[in-house]
Each structure stands twice: as structure tokens, then as C-alpha cells.
């Protein structure tokens, strides 16, 4: 009880989310919530076949249905200007309504626009499409032999290939991760509103307003300045809003043709086929070691699925090149084109999948060696970057192992599987390591001090949930010594100073640095004005008043220094799981979880903790429940809703612990902060699988670990 109390107290430490009040009162406006005057509604109709061509479309009934303004199909849709140029690559993004070809089931074949949502939704059911069907493939497992090397992709070989095979102790296993779908709670949405023929405003669910601006400008051949993208609140994304999707292009097209603002909100079912997913991936891991546990060879192969029209590759096997010190490492990655829509990065893209093979493999090797899995990892700890030999900018992974082991009670783990029970449930402990590159790009921030001593911060970046505005406020407050409640943050608008897309765990590092640098410059200016080195005893407001200045502002661009390139920069995580498995039903319960992050300075403790536990929960979904299932006879998803695609719910999740090493990285940025969004999830699924093995003696290598696989 003492412990629980303590844990709860730590969860409330730090600054409350600066936009929290708007979120708890329902005043935070997401993209579908700008009910512009004259708004009309778009609803898509999707293909019911998986491959082939459209033979005929009868849209008459839909066109004549009440309130319908237009029905667009490939037959009558206005041409998208940017799609008329000959493609520069043999493959590329799906182009909506461009021709009569069907590449995947659910592919949009028509867009209905009506004066109300209900009318558009009904009319969309009236569209009759006849098809010429062609054969198709949607099953990765039976098509692995059709895999090809990605363009520009090369197999990686360090030292000797397949060295694990001749090692004194070795394991060789295959692992499957099925398709996982981001499924943010907010449905993907766009409202497009043209002002004349060459200018428009969109309220869009996007992780990057400038990326969306660029994509729409290219598609419609506009000056990017004339595309205003607004997205101050994003209801989760996890990668699904990194790029501009075809429903967005369709809505912009319809709004132009109709000269009316068009709102298009995807249905939950469409969220499974229109905005990407984590690709179904097969992996094979070979690990060889000396009897004392020194790795001799790592061979990691993976085959991931992509669509017929576009290649999507991810760094699934890269983690095996980067994690451990090992003289011989080789990796192979193959792409299998199937009749599915294109995958897209999902939280921890590549590494989250690769870590299943590597970290389950390490657990299997630890058993083969009769070694503690943490000891095995410490023995093979990489002191310098195994790929480049560069020193790390900072790495406290060994501290993280220790912190997590103490917190989960690792000493209570019995190495022998299926040997411990509690109240009739089998008990198991497992752990898994995660890593992800720590990045810093370029960003521009405007900082404006007003006469009343309050501070405004402005930049284009969006916040999909981690608390970007809160982190910015924390950083500015620290540098300027201005109280957090005197700072206001304006983000999520392409008209603001440029900053990058929110993704790849890079925003706090990138935008936070620009906030830091802007505040430092502002402080310098204030010092100059006050005429004293430290600004004397005058408050900022008094300095401005003394000089009759209504405000003082700076706009500062900040980016990584060349010095930083000398170092290998990564964030690290270690996830510990204690699971209970019911011996009769095979139900797996997470009893306790501890996630430790080594990601530099924590600039925003409250939101950082939430981000880590949120990642642990997403990883729990990967490990125990998430799987998009296609009926391969039809090539159609059978579980495209929340009743059948299971994500973790409240009853699945106990109190979770998030711990931080919290030691600054001296090289990456002024705050010493590295990213944590990806590492929060990377390694979790492996920790679960390892804990389930410890509990049951059953090694489930095809995720998710559902009860049927344990009984």
C-alpha cells in the first residue's frame, strides 16, 4: 500500500498539461470541429473486391438521393493537376479516382457529397459498381518466397555471414507479427475550404502542417503559401497522420469543384484501409554465443508486406545491427507486394517489430546458456556504436537495467519456467530492451515578451498527444524564469514559423532547442536594454516599460551542430513485465510493469511519465491482443472495428511504473533531452512474450499471445 501511494504521488509531479483545461472542458477543437458556414459532407464508398478493374458504375440513385450535390468516381472526377505529370518512379502513392484499377479491398471508388452527413452516408450505399475480378494475394506467410530486396536496399554484413551457426551455443527461431493498426481515437478528418481557384484553408488531422501544405500544393499545383493548414489539436496519430492520404486529396478536389467547404471524416472501418498500419512481418533470428554468453553471431532476416502500387520499407532488422557488441552480424530484409493498402510508420517503426525477434531471441539464448537474461545483455553491452564505432553521446542502459530490475522485483523471478503460482495463476517475469535514434532537426520559434511580462511562443509544430506545448512551456519557463502560467503557446498552424512534422521522437529535441535558443536571445536583448549584465533588479515587464516598448520579440532558427555528428545518438528503454497466466483458460494478465527510459533530461515530468506508460500500453496491445485479420478467400478484413480488433482497455491494465535515468545528454541539444515516444513501445511485446514463457514454459512466437495459443 505504501508503494502504491508513493507511485500515485509521483504521477502528479510536474506541470499540468498547458492545454489540459481545454481538453477536459470539451473546448479543444479537433479538425472535424470547425463547422464553417455552408459546410457539406463527403462520404467515401469502397471497393468490395480485392483486385481487378471497375467495369461499370451506376451512381444515378445516389445522385438523385435527397441532398446529394455530387458523386465523384474515376469517370467524372476533376483531374488532380499534380497527377497529370508522368510518374517519375515505377511505383508511388495510390492516386484516388485516377483510373479503373482496384489494388485492394476497401479502396475508395466513389465520393458522395451531400448537405448533411446522414444523407451522404445513405447515398453512398446506393452506388452500384460492377467489377472484372482478378486474382489476388493478401497472405504474407504463403508469399514469403516472392519477397524482393527493396530498391536501394542492401543486405548488411559485418564480419562473417551466418556466424551464429557454428557458435558453441545457438538458437534459431521464426517470429510473426501480424498487421497492427494505429487506430487513434480521433477519426481522420479534413475540412477543405477554397477561397477562389488558387487558395485554400484546410483543417486537417495531420502530424505535420507543413508536410500537408506541401502535399496539397503539389497535388493542386499551388503556391504552398496559398495552402493554409490548421491543426492545433490532433486526437492521436502514432504515425497514421505522417503523410497526406487520398481522402484528403479527394476532399480538397470536391471542395474546389463544388465551391463549398467539404468535411470528410473517415469511418472507423476506413481507418483500417486508408491511413496505413504496421505491416505484417515474418522474422527469423539466429543468435550464437560462447558458453559464457559472449555473442559470436547475429543473423536477422525479415519479410514485410507492402502494397502492389507502392513500396514501404522499414528498418525492422536494423536493431540487430545496433543493439549489442558482436563481431559478426548480417541482416536481410525483403518486401512482399500484396493486394493490400500501403503500410506506414507506426510507433517505433521497424525497431518495435525487430525487437520482438532480437529480444525474444536473447531470452531464448539466455535459456540455452542457463544465464540470467539481464546478465546476458550486460555481457554484450555495446560501449560504442557497433555500426560506426562512434562513441555514444550518452548511454546509461546498465543503470536502466538495474533500476527496472529493482522496481519489478526481478530477484523473485524463478529461472525455471512454469514453476511459480500465485492464487492458482502461473507467474512469470520477462524483460526486453528498446532503442531508437535520437534526432534533432531544424525548427524556428518566435518568442514574444509582452509589456505585462507574459511570454508567447509560436511555431508550426502539431501536438498529437505527448504534450509538446507543455514541454515548450517548461523549457521557456526554465530559461526565462517566467512562471509557466504566464507563458502561452500557439502551435499547429502552417502560418506560424516553420518546424518539423511530429514524428520519430524528435520534436522535444528539435522544437525544444529552438524554444531554448529563442528564450536565450530574448534574455540577451533584455539584458542589453537594462544596461546591466544580469538585468539588475528590474522585472522583464519593468524593462519593457522603461523603454516604452509594448513588446519585444525574437524569431530564432535552431539546428544541430556539426559537433553532434561525431557521436552516435540513441534513446534506450528497458521494459519489465510480471504476468499471471491462467493455467486452464490461457488468459494472460499483466500484473505489474515497469518501463525505464534512458533518454536524457526529462523536461516535462508529468507528460513524460504519461508518454512512457502510454507506450507500454500500446506495446501490451502488440503483445497480447492486436491483430488485423484478413479473410484470404476474399482479401477482406474481418475485424475492422473496436469490437473485433482488440486494443488494450481499462480492465487490461494495472498501475504502471515509468522510471527515468534522467541524466542529460551533453551533445544532442541545450536541454540534454532525447526522444521517448518510440522507445516507450519498443521492447514491450518481447518482454511480455518472455514473461509468458517464464510463466508457462510455452514460447509463443506468433503474436499476439492470445489464450488459444497457451492451452
Amino acid at each position: 500500500m505504501e508503494n502504491i501511494k508513493k507511485r500515485k504521488a509521483s504521477a502528479t509531479e510536474g506541470l499540468d498539461r498547458v492545454d489540459g483545461r481545454l481538453k477536459v472542458t470539451g473546448k479543444a477543437k479537433y479538425s472535424a470541429e470547425y463547422n464553417t458556414k455552408g459546410l457539406v459532407y463527403g462520404v467515401l464508398a469502397g471497393s468490395t473486391i480485392t483486385s481487378g478493374t471497375i467495369k461499370t458504375i451506376d451512381a444515378k440513385a445516389a445522385e438523385n438521393a435527397p441532398g446529394v450535390l455530387a458523386v465523384y468516381t474515376y469517370l467524372n472526377s476533376p483531374k488532380i493537376p499534380g497527377y497529370q505529370d508522368p510518374p517519375t518512379q515505377p511505383k508511388g502513392p495510390f492516386r484516388i479516382f485516377d483510373d479503373n484499377k482496384i489494388y485492394f479491398n476497401g479502396q475508395p471508388v466513389a465520393l458522395v457529397v451531400a448537405d448533411t452527413f446522414e444523407r451522404a452516408q445513405y447515398a453512398a450505399t446506393l452506388i452500384k459498381v460492377a467489377y472484372d475480378k482478378a486474382s489476388f494475394q493478401t497472405d504474407l506467410k504463403s508469399n514469403i518466397s516472392a519477397g524482393v530486396s527493396p530498391r536501394n536496399g542492401k543486405d548488411y554484413v559485418k564480419g562473417q555471414e551466418d556466424a551464429y551457426k557454428t557458435a558453441p551455443v545457438k538458437i534459431e527461431q521464426e517470429y510473426i507479427l501480424p498487421t497492427d493498426v494505429h487506430n487513434p481515437m480521433e477519426l481522420h478528418t479534413i475540412i477543405a475550404n477554397w477561397d477562389g481557384d488558387d487558395k485554400l484553408t484546410v483543417w486537417d488531422k495531420t502530424q505535420g502542417v507543413l508536410g500537408t501544405q506541401r502535399s496539397i500544393a503539389q497535388a493542386f499545383k499551388l503556391d504552398p503559401k496559398n495552402v493554409h493548414v490548421i491543426s492545433p489539436f490532433v486526437g492521436g496519430a502514432f504515425g497514421a497522420a505522417l503523410r497526406t492520404w487520398q481522402h484528403e486529396i479527394a476532399a480538397v478536389m470536391a471542395a474546389k469543384a463544388l465551391k463549398k467547404p467539404v468535411k470528410l471524416v473517415l469511418s472507423r472501418a476506413e481507418m483500417f484501409t486508408a491511413v496505413g498500419y504496421r505491416p505484417y512481418t515474418w522474422q527469423k533470428m539466429g543468435l550464437g554465443a560462447t558458453p559464457d554468453g559472449k555473442l559470436v553471431g547475429i543473423t536477422h532476416e525479415a519479410s514485410g508486406q507492402t502494397s502492389m502500387y507502392e513500396d514501404f520499407t522499414e528498418g525492422t532488422v536494423n536493431i540487430s545491427q545496433l543493439m549489442y557488441a558482436c563481431p559478426n552480424v548480417n541482416t536481410r530484409y525483403r518486401l512482399v507486394s500484396l493486394n493490400v493498402n500501403t503500410p506506414t510508420p507506426m510507433r517505433g517503426p521497424g525497431e518495435a517489430t525487430g525487437a520482438i525477434a532480437l529480444e525474444c531471441g536473447m531470452d531464448e539464448l539466455a535459456y540455452a546458456l542457463n544465464m540470467d537474461p539481464i546478465d546476458l545483455r550486460v555481457v554484450n553491452h555495446a560501449d560504442t556504436d557497433p555500426q560506426t564505432g562512434k562513441p555514444y553521446s550518452s548511454k546509461f542502459l546498465k543503470d536502466a537495467y538495474q533500476l527496472g530490475a529493482d522496481a519489478i522485483g526481478w530477484k523473485n523471478r524463478n529461472r525455471k519456467p512454469a514453476s511459480v503460482t500465485e492464487n492458482g495463476w502461473l507467474v512469470g517475469y520477462g524483460m526486453g530492451t528498446g532503442m531508437f535514434g535520437a534526432y534533432r532537426g531544424a525548427a524556428t520559434v518566435l518568442a514574444r515578451l509582452l509589456a505585462d511580462g507574459t511570454l508567447d511562443l509560436e511555431t508550426a509544430v502539431t501536438d498529437i498527444g505527448p504534450g509538446t506545448g507543455t514541454a515548450m512551456t517548461n523549457i521557456a519557463s526554465e530559461v526565462m524564469g517566467v512562471a509557466a502560467d504566464k507563458i502561452s503557446v500557439k502551435i499547429g498552424d502552417s502560418a506560424l514559423p516553420p518546424s518539423p512534422t511530429q514524428g520519430g521522437s524528435s520534436v522535444t529535441s528539435t522544437v525544444g532547442s529552438a524554444v531554448n535558443d529563442a528564450c536565450v536571445q530574448l534574455k540577451e536583448k533584455l539584458k542589453e536594454l537594462s544596461g546591466t549584465a544580469e538585468g539588475g533588479n528590474l522585472s522583464y515587464a519593468q524593462i519593457l516599460q522603461a523603454h516604452n516598448l509594448p513588446q519585444l520579440e525574437v524569431t530564432v532558427t535552431s539546428k544541430s551542430s556539426p559537433e553532434a555528428a561525431k557521436y552516435a545518438m540513441y534513446s534506450w528503454s528497458v521494459h519489465f513485465m510480471k504476468v499471471l497466466v491462467h493455467p486452464t483458460t490461457g488468459v494472460v494478465k499483466v500484473d505489474k510493469a515497469v518501463s525505464v527510459a534512458d533518454c536524457g533530461t526529462i523536461v516535462s515530468p508529468k507528460t513524460a511519465r504519461s508518454q512512457i506508460i502510454g507506450g507500454t500500453i500500446m506495446g501490451t496491445g502488440m503483445g497480447l491482443m492486436e491483430e488485423a485479420v484478413i479473410d484470404h478467400r476474399y482479401g477482406r478484413l474481418v475485424n475492422n472495428d473496436f469490437a473485433n480488433y482488440h486494443v488494450p482497455i481499462q480492465a487490461d491494465i494495472p498501475q504502471l511504473e515509468a522510471l527515468f535515468v534522467n541524466k542529460p545528454d551533453p551533445y544532442i541539444n541545450p536541454m540534454g533531452a532525447k526522444g521517448m515516444g518510440e522507445i516507450a513501445t519498443i521492447g514491450v511485446a518481447a518482454a511480455l512474450a518472455n514473461a509468458v514463457f517464464n510463466a508457462t514454459g510455452k514460447r509463443v512466437r506468433d503474436l499476439p499471445i492470445t489464450p488459444d495459443k497457451l492451452i
Binding site: K8, A11, T12, D16, R17, D19, R21, K23, V24, T25, G26, K27, K29, Y30, E33, N35, D58, A61, N64, P66, G67, T116, E118, Y122, L126, K128, V129, A130, Y131, K133, S135, F136, Q137, H182, M185, E186, L187, F233, G235, G236, F238, R268, G465, P466, G467, K606, S610, I613, I617, M618, H632, R633, Y634, F642, I649, Q650, A651, I653, P654, Q655
Partner: protein, 214 residues
């Protein structure tokens, strides 16, 4: 794998005469009005008239109280309470996450009980009192549950939050917040993809233990 194209497939035959209600209206309600009109005029006016008549026939009166304010609306019977709130009344605090009653983002209170507004037709709440997230605070003074969500960071992106808070308030009122376990069970209809579950439980427990009226 060879595709089993011989399996049954959806009926894609061209529509046989659509026996929709609209056609019925055309044939019945309009029939006397157009009986004396020249044929070409009927054809020209048909679609437009059809709209007008449909409007009158297909909409129903809906009187309800939302956050203490009376509303008298004309709505289509098929319109959900969720879409009426969001699209007609601009009360966008209530969220659409699935439109299938599976995620809880659209939870509101109807006569004090939590209800999934995407599975509730507007006309079903005729004469009732609806409370949405916008009606929970008293002016600038937040409801204790809103305060607790802020303090415990019971959210990240904030999209499921209004539904979580409305559900959380009801969870305490129902007497289903007596332990962490019970809260988890009775809050399991509200999905949070960002994964704020433990924080939400802690917020609810604090409100419950604080004993403030909810």
C-alpha cells in the same frame, strides 16, 4: 493461394426497382397535387418538390434540454444524438471515435445516466435532459473530475477525454468506484489509445475518496 472465386459474394445486380420511401411519397403524397399539372412541369418540379415534401415528412420535432438550456429542433429520425450535438448544435466536446458504440468517446448523460450518444437516436431523448462535457463545469469552476483529470494527467491527445470524464462521473454516481478493480471494470467501455488508463483510475479514485459531490 488460388482464390476461391466460386464462393458466395455480395449481390451486385443492378438495382431492381427501388421501393424506397421516397418513391412512395412521390406516388402517394404528391399524387393529388400533381394530378392536374402538365406532365413536363411535373418532371421539372419533381426533384425539387420531392425535397421539400421529404423535408416536411421526414423530419420530426425534438424537444430536449441540453446543459440546462431548452432546445426545440426538427431532426431526421435517423440522426444520432451524437451527430445532432456535433453537427447541428456545434457542441463538439462530445467526440465521434467509432460511431458503432464500441469506444465510449461519445458518452453523455441522459437524465443523469451515461449513454453512448452514437447509438442513441436523437428522437429517443425527446423530453429528456442531456448533459455533455460542455455542461459539466460551473462557469470557470471545473467539476472535481475535470480537476482530477488535469492533476493526474488522465489523457494525452484529449480526444477520448470528454467521454472518459462523463463516464467517470457516472461511474461514481452509480456506486461503481469502490476499488481500483471495480473502476477498471466499469470504465472499460471507454477506450484510450494513448494509454492513460492508470492515470484515469487514479483521478477517479481521488474524486471518490475526496467525497465531493459529483
Amino acid at each position: 493461394m488460388e482464390n476461391n472465386n466460386n464462393l458466395p459474394e455480395p449481390d451486385t445486380r443492378p438495382d431492381v426497382k427501388d421501393p424506397s420511401r421516397r418513391d412512395f411519397l412521390k406516388k402517394s403524397a404528391l399524387i393529388t397535387a400533381v394530378a392536374l399539372t402538365p406532365a413536363h412541369a411535373v418532371k421539372a418540379a419533381e426533384k425539387h418538390m420531392d425535397e421539400r415534401i421529404a423535408e416536411a415528412f421526414e423530419k420530426m420535432p425534438l424537444s430536449l434540454e441540453i446543459n440546462g438550456a431548452p432546445h426545440n429542433l426538427m431532426v431526421e429520425p435517423r440522426s444520432t444524438l451524437l451527430d445532432i450535438l456535433r453537427e447541428q448544435l456545434d457542441l463538439t466536446g462530445t467526440k465521434k471515435g467509432c460511431d458503432l458504440g464500441q469506444c465510449g468517446a461519445c458518452t453523455v448523460h441522459v437524465d443523469g445516466h451515461r449513454v453512448i450518444s452514437c447509438l442513441t437516436l436523437g428522437i429517443m431523448v425527446n423530453g429528456k435532459k442531456v448533459t455533455t462535457i460542455e455542461g459539466l463545469a460551473k462557469g470557470d469552476q471545473l467539476h472535481p473530475m475535470q480537476e482530477a483529470f488535469l492533476k493526474h494527467d488522465g489523457f494525452q491527445c484529449g480526444y477520448c477525454t470528454p467521454g472518459q470524464i462523463m463516464s467517470a462521473v457516472a461511474c461514481i454516481r452509480e456506486g461503481h468506484a469502490n476499488s481500483e478493480h471495480e473502476i477498471r471494470e466499469y470504465m472499460s467501455g471507454n477506450i484510450c489509445r494513448c494509454g492513460a488508463y492508470p492515470n484515469i483510475v487514479n483521478a477517479i479514485q481521488e474524486v471518490k475518496e475526496g467525497g465531493l459531490p459529483v
